[in-house]
């Protein structure tokens, strides 16, 4: 998308085509650029959505990169912009800038096995990865998807889980912290890192993509290192306050890195040296 080549702060208009309820506080918005152009993005990149009069917020693009004329953002209601987005109806207009940021290194890890670890909303930036792998299955080795959420009701994209399991040489493991009474649950209970016991990594040939709450990423990263994964092969997608997405507003800096330009995807080697990473 070439909107705002001159003025990077000017959003382009996008129409809301469809809204899916993921869970009571999460919705997926299917958007279509009004100018008819496709939003060309790579898995792991994010866009910045405007609700005019309230503000802008960054969201990972959560749809398949192969889908050309529409794209999706999955939004959890936590504050001002996200509340405003929850009031939106199909047909409404939003502003979109982007895509921004460095994607998951899908080219670099060609040939490797992949472990995808996601916590809660953290599955959003990883969903395009899964769709990409499904399309280009022969490029990668074994794929394990480990997904944890607080409760079964907090999970997102549950309607796609069956199709993910059917991708060749791909396994999906699910866990929750807690199962409320009278809820059906036939998977694990416990933190997501415990799912790692199901995978038998070939360390050298395995890359790990992690996204979730900062605290979950912290424990996951520590465990992965202890297990012997290479720091350069463990990739995290970080989240920081952002006001511009283009390395001007300063908010997303971690040490000398900008999450918006140099990230949001970093490997552990890069992050290891930086302060203020994990709360």
């Amino acid at each position: 998308m070439s909107t705002g080549f001159e003025n990077p702060y000017v959003p382009a208009f996008a129409k809301v085509v469809e809204i899916k309820d993921e869970n009571p506080i999460t919705k997926t918005f299917k958007l279509k650029m009004v100018n008819g152009e496709a939003l060309r993005f790579r898995p792991g990149q994010f866009d910045i959505i405007s609700y005019f009069g309230v503000g802008e917020s960054a969201f990972s693009i959560s749809s398949s990169p192969e889908e050309k004329d529409v794209f999706e953002n999955t939004v959890r209601k936590v504050g001002r912009v996200t509340t405003a987005l929850f009031n939106v109806k199909p047909g409404d207009m939003l502003g979109v800038r982007g895509p921004y940021g460095k994607p998951w290194p899908l080219e670099k890890v060609v040939g490797n096995d992949l472990i995808i670890i996601a916590g809660g909303m953290g599955l959003a930036p990883l969903r395009p990865v899964i769709h990409y792998i499904a399309k280009h299955r022969d490029l990668y080795g074994a794929v394990d998807i480990l997904y944890g959420a607080r409760t079964p009701g907090d999970m997102i994209y549950t309607y796609e889980f069956e199709s993910w399991k059917n991708i060749p040489n791909t396994r999906l493991y699910l866990t929750v912290d807690y199962v409320p009474p009278n809820t059906k649950w036939e998977h694990d209970v416990g933190v997501v890192t415990e799912l790692l016991r199901y995978v038998k990594p070939r360390m050298r040939y395995t890359s790990v993509f992690v996204c979730g709450p900062e605290i979950m990423m912290k424990f996951t990263a520590q465990l992965l290192l202890r297990m012997g994964f290479f720091p350069s092969e463990v990739f995290l997608s970080l989240e920081r306050r952002m006001k511009c997405g283009i390395g001007k507003c300063g908010h997303c800096q971690i040490g000398y890195k900008y999450v918006c330009k140099d990230g949001p995807v970093f490997n552990l080697e890069e992050i290891g040296l930086l302060p203020d990473v994990i709360e």
Partner: protein, 355 residues
Amino acid sequence: MFIKEDARYWKLEMSFVLKREELPHFSKHIVSKGYSLFAPVKKEGRSAFKKIGEDHVDEISLDYIRTTMPPLKALLIPPKETLLRIKDGRIEEVLPNPADKIAIMGVHPCDVNAMSLLERVYTDRPEDPYFKARRNSLLIIALNCKSADEYCFCTSFGTGPSLDEGFDLLLTDLDEGFLVEVGSRKGAELVGDFYMPKALSTDLMEKDETIRRAKGMIRKHVNTAGIQRIMTGALYNPIWNELAGKCTGCGACNMVCPTCFCFNVVDEIELDSGSVLRSRTWDGCLLWEYAEVALGGNFRRDLSARIRQFVNHKMNYWLNQYGALGCVGCGRCIEQCPARIDITNVVARLRGELL
């Protein structure tokens, strides 16, 4: 090949002397060329940059050491600036008019160098069109320093007290008047039709002497040798906690620092027109909200982490990010800190040069 003598000769050719009493006329001349002129004026003993109307050229006073506000930052990224106006599904860019020419007179070397640093941030791709537009229409008449006070430490970074580039015209306060050196075509045009006698080599000597004297007045110093290694090594030094006991968390240092560039963006509804204004305002890393994310999460919850960010950004990260340290030694953050925290002191202590 360009030898030293040639340089000196060429410099003389393009150097003039502006008599002290001619300054108001020259200022008027600038205004008559269609520039909005900004220059320092004295207000209750302190100097501040103000827009100077034709009738107020007499108020300009180039005898000052430091203004509280960094003049170039305030001009190029105003404290509050509307970026977009959105109404009825249309987005209007509120860009500065490229025809509005601005001249700023009397900015000291540290501030000009700080602007070059801001330029690195704002013209890094994608370029910031607001900054860019203002920068393009800006004419800089810099002023070498003839004195310094207890807060100045520009010599540590080579950002003062004199300037070699980055100006359109450069003034040096000499006994009789101002030495005027030309640094660009725009500058040459401006002096082209205002009569000033050519400078003599003695004037250049006097300039060197003035600068030497100014240098001699500078007492603060930051040792920048290997500074990145030292700063990174000190990320977990207890000093940050100690500073957090003293720092008020007011963010004044962020505001007055000529190289602090962070901003917040807010949408507001303009009631009478019904349009949405999207504006940016200066922000600073000393604030709680700066690193706050949804649901109360905060990556720099402790004031110590915020102070560490400020000092490390200037003295460490800048170098990786934009190839230069982010401090020009203007001394503003030291002078304006109600808690009397001194960045040079912090670095010196981390280096073990001070207890």
